[in-house]
């Protein structure tokens, strides 16, 4: 089986975020980078499928700056066979259809049976790229999967989708198909040292982005932190003292006792 896994490199969510000069996205300084969490589930599921079908070939694709290759290497260490890096320094500025077009452009030539990807990215969170890739390739997409199985005899894929309120939907599909992965699908493995070593020798191809073939459809005009609202205040001490403090606060800050 020929499998594509589309991943994105995102900042660690614990990073100190600052808004960039244009006010349209975050500044890249002082950020730590990692593989998008949902894409890790995609990689893990693909590797498990390869363990079931050893003849499978796993290609991992990532669009982004040079450092994105670090995330590709992690996917290779987890068990993917080869990596493709579309070196696009401006990928963070691009809207979902532009990213999906790049991926579809690559996928068209290779005839993948399954395309795994995360259900959304942790930074942009549009949740559109996966389904758009499917649409552009003219194949079905099943989103937010939390369970996956493949029947070797019938070739049927059976997945569970997560719906609102914790209910699940059982969906069957056949290849080719795009599957977007949700939290709960699996626990991504920790790469073993021999696999980290082997990953260093695996093919990692860097290609230039194809010229943008789509018209702009949307634009992020501003990006900002939520407005700072007054925080809560916890008073500490003995009860009479607390009462005094509270009265004083009410007098100073409100008109409740006026």
């Amino acid at each position: 089986m020929n499998i594509l896994i589309c991943i994105k490199q995102v900042p660690d969510m614990e990073s100190k975020f600052k808004i960039n000069g244009e006010g349209t996205w975050y500044d890249r300084a002082d950020l730590a980078w990692r593989m998008n969490e949902y894409d890790e589930y995609a990689v893990e599921q693909a590797v498990r499928l390869k363990e079931q079908l050893p003849n499978s070939d796993l290609t991992v694709l990532c669009i982004g700056q040079d450092q994105a290759s670090e995330s590709i290497k992690k996917a290779l260490a987890m068990g993917c066979d080869k990596g493709v890096h579309i070196a696009d320094p401006d990928s963070s500025q691009r809207e979902p259809i532009a990213i999906a077009t790049m991926i579809a452009g690559f996928a068209k030539e290779e005839l993948f049976d399954i395309i795994f990807t995360g259900m959304q990215s942790q930074d942009r969170g549009s949740a559109q790229v996966g389904v758009m890739v499917a649409e552009l390739l003219g194949i079905p997409a099943v989103t937010t999967i939390v369970d996956f199985s493949y029947d070797e005899n019938t070739g049927a894929i059976q997945v569970k989708r997560e719906l609102e309120g914790g209910s699940k939907a059982l969906v069957t599909a056949t290849t080719p198909v795009v599957l977007t992965c949700q939290l709960g699908l699996n626990t991504p493995r920790y790469p073993t040292l021999p696999n980290i070593m082997k990953a260093k020798k695996k093919e990692l191809r860097t290609v230039l982005p194809a010229p943008a073939a789509v018209d702009a459809r949307q634009e992020t005009s501003a990006c900002y932190f939520p407005e700072k609202k007054g925080g809560g205040l916890v008073l500490e001490g003995e009860i009479p003292e607390l009462a005094d403090k509270l009265i004083q606060l009410l007098k100073e800050k409100t008109s409740a006792l006026a």
């Binding site: 660690d12 614990e14 990073s15 002082d30 730590a32 920790y190 040292l193 021999p194 980290i196």
Partner: protein, 665 residues
């Protein structure tokens, strides 16, 4: 009268005695050698390891351990009895050698006799008393093992054999002496008085008449000989082997630095297996260790994991590896010992420190952990795997954004080296003091103390990453090396002369483990650094009396032997220390070492709660610590033990900061 005795009295000294005697000895030696060779073959299944360097020190250490019984006698009671038994048996052995030397060599070949006169008197008296002492000690050990039996003492068939054989040798020895003396010395009390025990036995036997005594003597003499030869033959096949292996293991002992782990060569592309899961993955010393073990259970008695009901006993680990080595060499180490046992270790080193047989428990556990992590990607829990990933991404296992690592210094007016590298000391802060609120308070106190002493401190700030200690102890050698190499490069680039740490784990790692990456900058733990500042008067302290108890962290204590300096510092600032029952080299771990700080404690009781209860028992209201991991565990432990009102855990630096004189503050 002549003070001596006839050697080979009654049994004769002719060919009829010597030929069967030496013939039997030869048989015993052959049996002994065959057994020894068989065991050496098993030791050789392990990987090579050079333990024959520093020969002078090794021989000295072996002789001390063996002849002075330094390690065994550290535990009073059974240890004392063992030492006394050893010395008395050793004296008997020397006595026997002297007899052989005179009778079968010096006298036989040159007519020289030295067992006479005053020397004989002393010789005879010493041997008699040694024999008596040996019997008494053996009886004491027998009572302990078979009648009282302390909890956890494993007793096997070997033990019965040893007790039986040794008792028989000693008692037949006295009976032979008594039979001889009943015939030859009962009418010479001046002579008999120099063999008091033999004299007593002789008096008891006297009624048998000379003929009966002579028959008894001959029979017992040959029986005693057979027992002694049986002892020699049995050495490699029974627990008697510890006489050889435990002594030899003192020679082969790890000569430090204490607790420094072996660095795996990750550059070697041919290496496809890491850590240990098969017997052959261990070093020969690891297998030899299992033969040096006497199941004395001192390690088990001190293991914090064992004491809190976790499935780990260091003694069992060694014993199980021994069973694999000698009976089922194909069995998997990890499967046999069990993952939960392997993950339960806090690397507190209490086992290795007390071991009278120089066994290295920690290295074995770490090698198995390396196999689990590097070959299987296995961890004690998902939280540990997440912490590892966090350390990869953000350089700390807490998952905090790396860029905010140095934020805590903002109110203190010190700078990261990237802004000003002209400093007296680099403070290597560590992850907990950088991100954890409770430990930032300690770091802040430490910097203020340095400032009060006029010392210019710098930190690495966001360039600092975890030293890699918890990862390494958890078996993640790859991540450790990645972090370590980066830290070595960063620190070296700034040309730092001296580093101070507030975390003993950082200290131990930087000062020992980093040596393998050509890192030789002086590193000092904060307690020592502060103690020197106070002692030299550079940091004037206004002593104010207070009561406390002090916890020796495993990594300042057992790993580095720093017991006195922190106590001296506490006293210099007015502290009255009430020691916990388990202190100094016997201190009970807080539970956070060995990377366990990253793991949830799901099995048995909580180690930190147990330690906190020990601190509460002293009645002192404060528990002073010197380690951020300990402090974190104790803050948690006082809640778990519900003693928040009775016990306040603090770092020494915090108490000191309250006592710096105002003109400097």
């Amino acid at each position: 009268m002549e003070f001596t005795r006839e050697i080979y009295w009654n049994v004769g000294h002719g060919f009829a005695t010597l030929a069967p005697m030496y013939g039997l000895l030869a048989v015993a030696v052959v049996i002994f050698a065959l057994g020894l060779i068989k065991r050496i073959k098993v030791y050789r299944l392990g990987l090579p390891l050079d333990r024959t360097d520093q020969r002078r020190e090794r021989i000295k250490h072996m002789l001390e351990t063996m002849l002075l019984q330094t390690k065994v006698s550290r535990v009073p009671g059974a240890g004392t009895a063992h030492a006394l038994f050893f010395w008395s048996f050793f004296v008997l052995f020397i006595g026997t050698v002297l007899i052989v030397l005179q009778a079968d060599f010096s006298d036989l070949l040159f007519g020289i006799k030295f067992l006479k006169g005053t020397f004989y008197k002393l010789f005879s008296l010493t041997l008699d008393l040694a024999g008596l002492l040996a019997i008494l000690m053996l009886a004491g050990l027998f009572v302990r093992r078979y009648l009282v039996r302390p909890q956890g003492l494993m007793t096997k068939g070997d033990d019965a054999l040893m007790h039986g054989l040794l008792f028989a040798i000693l008692i037949t020895g006295f009976l032979i002496e008594g039979a001889r003396m009943a015939v030859t010395e009962l009418n010479a009390p001046q002579l008999a008085a120099w063999s008091p025990v033999g004299w007593g036995v002789a008096a008891l036997l006297a009624g048998m008449g000379e003929a009966g005594l002579r028959t008894l003597h001959t029979g017992l003499w040959w029986f005693h000989l057979l027992l002694a030869l049986g002892f020699i033959s049995a050495l490699p096949y029974t627990k008697f082997r510890h006489i050889l292996t435990t002594s030899a293991n003192a020679f082969f002992a790890d000569r430090g630095p204490i607790g420094k782990l072996t660095t795996v060569n990750l550059e070697d592309e041919d290496q496809e297996e890491f850590g240990a899961n098969k017997l052959g993955d261990l070093r020969w010393k690891d297998i030899f260790d299992t033969d040096a073990c006497t199941l004395c259970k001192r390690c088990q008695d001190r293991c914090p994991a064992y004491a809190t009901g976790k499935p780990l006993s260091p003694m069992q680990v060694v014993n199980q590896i021994g069973e694999i080595a000698f009976t089922k060499p194909d069995a998997g180490l990890i499967e046999t010992i069990g993952r939960e046992a392997i993950w339960s270790c806090t690397t507190c080193r209490a086992c290795q420190d007390i071991c009278p047989a120089s066994i290295e428990h920690l290295g074995k556990i770490i090698e198995m952990r390396r196999n689990l992590v590097l070959m299987e990607g296995d961890f004690p829990g998902e939280e540990v795997m997440a912490a590892m990933e966090q350390a990869e991404v953000n350089g700390n296992p807490l998952g905090m954004g790396y860029a905010s690592r140095g934020d805590w210094i903002e109110p203190l007016g010190i700078k990261p080296l990237s802004e000003d590298h002209e400093v007296d000391v680099l403070y290597f802060v560590g992850c907990y003091a950088s991100f954890d609120k409770r430990n930032i308070a300690v770091a802040t106190c430490f910097v203020k103390l340095c400032q009060a002493a006029g010392i210019k401190v710098g930190i690495l700030g966001k360039e600092e990453k975890c030293c890699g200690e918890p990862m390494r102890k958890m078996g993640n050698e790859y991540l450790y090396q990645t972090l370590a190499m980066e830290m070595v490069e960063t620190i070296k680039e700034y040309g730092v002369k001296k580093i101070v740490t507030t975390c003993p784990h950082c200290f131990n790692t930087l000062t020992k483990d980093y040596r393998d990456f050509d890192f030789d900058i002086e590193v000092v733990p904060h307690v020592l650094f502060l103690e020197e500042l106070v002692a030299s008067g550079r940091l004037p302290v206004k002593a104010k009396e207070f009561a406390c108890t002090y916890h020796d962290s495993c990594y300042l204590g057992r790993h580095n032997g720093m017991y006195d300096a922190p106590r001296k510092l506490i006293r210099s600032m007015g502290g009255r220390i009430t020691e916990m029952a388990r202190n100094r080299d016997q201190a009970f771990c807080c539970g956070a070492g060995g990377g366990r700080i990253l793991a949830e404690e799901k099995l048995g009781e909580r180690i930190n709660v147990k330690r906190v209860q020990m601190a509460v028992a002293t009645g002192a209201g404060q528990l002073l610590a010197n380690c951020p991991f300990c402090l974190t565990m104790f803050e948690d432990g006082v809640k778990g033990a519900n003693v928040e009102e009775q016990l306040r855990p603090k770092d020494i630096a915090e108490v000191l900061a309250e006592r710096i004189t105002s003109e400097n503050a």
